[in-house]
Subunit: 432 residues, 2 copies
């Protein structure tokens, strides 16, 4: 380190997979980080829940069980929060702000629930709140949205922001395997949690969708505003039907402006064309596809999780916050001036793929087409494959509201000639 | 606009395709830009070379022929330079700095030649120099490199940073057409200049490579430091051979750290595997693939040129610079502390594909393999296809220096059994 530079002391809340990487990098790269930030960055305290875990390469005297004393310590300038969860993280961050510390966090759940409160508290205290690591790990997406695209108008964001579900869907697509089979394998390999609900059912992606929507559309959006559907109902047949149509099924986090300037924000599986840049995003990789008025189509791709990638994003924020403290500046504040309304899912328009088993006799197609027409859902393509007494009917609609589509499906299930509605999946990323 | 906010006056040098879009957006989005920047941004002067061109929607009184008076005008706070070229742009920007103005520019050639002088002058004057639009148009790549990845170590950058050449190579790949044929079409469509040298021969990409290498490796790199080869020698056969090997040929701008911490920076066509994320970047799109120590693999994708996309990047910079002026802060300075050496191309190691026509008789392969061994170039794969008295031999090497490879090719051309060395192309992006 360059000892002529001012010292900034860092306290860290938590020291798990991410925290231990952050601690290692702060130590190993001390000289370069000081050159780049204009300050000597010293990790001086780490609050943990137990002192027994072995933490290699880190001085035991750094550790404390008293998180409270860390966030109120007058010596500490910057707090890194990597403990996760809502409480006590929220309370500790608020206290850190109240005691004049800037905060860097990777806590998507907290930001998607209490983001505005945190921003207000940081603003009041005149300190920074940075959280690049909260969405898509190492991929720089929040800084480009908050800063690079600040002179543009974002129209739509579609992201693959959950690595576990993308890993599962990739294996299903490439190996033709069933959901439960791949999930079990992912769990045994440590790619999926033993309780995979947060990933599989889209809770994790919904928190990230809320953060992205808020930044893109200058409006407060919380995880509760996000319509959420997971991937547990996606079958091997769904995946193979998508494949036969040159599409691939992805769990997408979508935030888009509607024609009347409202926001639709949702997480659900969807078919996208194989030619779409997101279709090539495989395994546990993440990517965020952005459509802006002037910039056009942009995509940001990389590792969405993992200790080192997440630590990279956190250190980028730490350097920014440190530079601000040495020169007396501040980063962007919350931008919620647009205050747009969030469209209920019933009014959200997308294309749909509906797969039906129907009786294979004359007049069926006409009757089913009539059912769609009655509900004012316009059909784009139909594919019928006979198999004995039954036929498989695959219908892709033009844009339709979720409400109209639901009515149509209800209508279909009441028709005698419809043996079963096998699946209903949205189609995204195609020309309308 | 919010009239309680301070006014910042903007002068613009040039008003072509990009400048007219910048002017339009500054006018149309005045209210939002003021909310986002904390200042009323007023375009108050535009210097042009002739007053006769019709410029729709812009007040004639804005225009002046006197660029000199614009950059010295005490009323002007921010100068946007979109005139291009080295002089008088360089001299005007230096004067703008000397008169206390921050500068936003899209001028890659200027930055790749005189970047350090400009940085020094901005530093001395205590003003900002921003230039996101200079590399890969609308794609936020410089801000992520300068800021998001500032806590990480970039190991390699591979970019498709020239839209014209990527358009040509895409058509050659997808339609099997010859270079000259596609170039002529691109010229007639306006996708390529009537004198296409800057694009085709890699000068444009080399300037961008220099800028990316400098930022990534904290070292001064100019366009002259960049080894440069264009795509005019790529034949339809090269493209189809690449295709038969599940590769695609792209013009790549590469900046990488060598094992002994030097920098290799070069622009040349190369085969990359179809599974590489860059392989899917089609037509005039650009993408920059970054490998960093902690973050892993990242890719940034979007439109690399065009009026509106470039204007989006410029306005992002203008908002940043405006925010800095209202709060008295400054963006990142030049970072050249690492001062790494640049490796001569002869010592640069890559894999190569060599395609030969040889006599189809026994002992040929052994003799040719011996020629490689003599030059200490290790062979990875060989594919021989007989056709009458001749055979086509396609050899892919392991990593070899350019010097060793050149010696090998010289050696081969002197062998009687070698009828011709049809092509020598580098292979990038694969496991070694």
């Amino acid at each position: 380190m360059n000892s002529s530079l001012p010292v900034l002391k860092i306290g860290m809340l938590g020291c798990g997979v991410v925290g231990s990487q952050v601690a290692r990098l702060l130590k190993d790269d001390a000289r370069e980080l000081s050159t780049r930030s204009g300050a000597q960055l010293v990790l001086s305290k780490i609050a943990v829940r137990d002192m027994k875990s072995k933490r290699e390469g880190l001085d035991a005297s750094l550790f404390t069980l008293d998180a409270q004393s860390l966030v109120t310590d007058p010596e500490i300038d910057i707090v890194i929060e990597v403990m996760g969860g809502i409480e006590p993280a929220r309370e500790l961050i608020l206290q850190a702000f109240a005691h004049g510390k800037s905060v860097v966090t990777a806590n998507k759940a907290l930001l998607a629930t209490h983001g505005s409160d945190l921003y207000s508290a940081a603003d009041k205290a005149g300190v920074d709140l940075y959280y690049e690591a909260a969405v898509a790990g190492a991929i720089p997406i929040l800084r480009p949205l908050r800063e690079s695209l600040v002179g543009d108008h974002v129209k739509r964001i579609m992201g693959i922001v959950n690595g576990t579900t993308n890993y599962i869907l990739t294996k299903m697509d490439e190996e033709g395997r069933a959901f439960n089979d791949v999930l079990a394998e992912a769990q045994s390999l440590g790619y999926a949690e033993s309780d995979p609900t947060a990933d599989i059912e889209g809770f994790d992606a919904a928190a990230k969708a809320a953060i992205l929507a808020g930044l893109a559309f200058h409006t407060r959006v919380t995880a509760e505003d996000v319509h959420r559907e997971g991937i547990s109902s996606i079958t091997a047949t769904d995946v193979s039907v998508a494949k036969s149509m040159d599409h691939v099924i992805k769990l997408l986090a979508i935030a888009e402006l509607t024609p009347d300037d409202q926001i639709s924000v949702r997480v659900h599986p969807a078919l996208i064309p194989r030619t779409h840049p997101l279709a090539a995003v495989r395994d546990a990789f993440n990517a965020v596809f952005v459509e802006a008025e002037s910039a056009g189509e942009l995509m940001f791709y990389g590792r969405g999780a993992g200790g080192a990638p997440t630590a990279s994003a956190i250190l980028g924020d730490v350097v920014a916050v440190a530079r601000h403290r040495t020169v007396g500046a501040l980063g962007p504040r919350e931008s919620d001036y647009a205050d747009r309304a969030i469209v209920p899912i019933g009014q959200t328009k997308t294309k749909y793929l509906i797969r039906l088993n129907v009786a294979d006799k004359s007049g069926v197609l006409a009757a089913i087409a009539q059912a769609f027409a009655t509900e004012k859902v316009s059909i784009q393509t139909v594919r019928q494959t006979g198999r004995g007494a039954e036929a498989e009917l695959i219908i892709v609609t033009h844009n339709a509201t979720e409400a109209a589509l639901s009515s149509t499906v209800k209508h279909l299930t009441q028709m005698e000639m419809v043996r079963s509605v096998e699946s209903v999946i949205r189609v995204e990323g195609a020309a309308q």
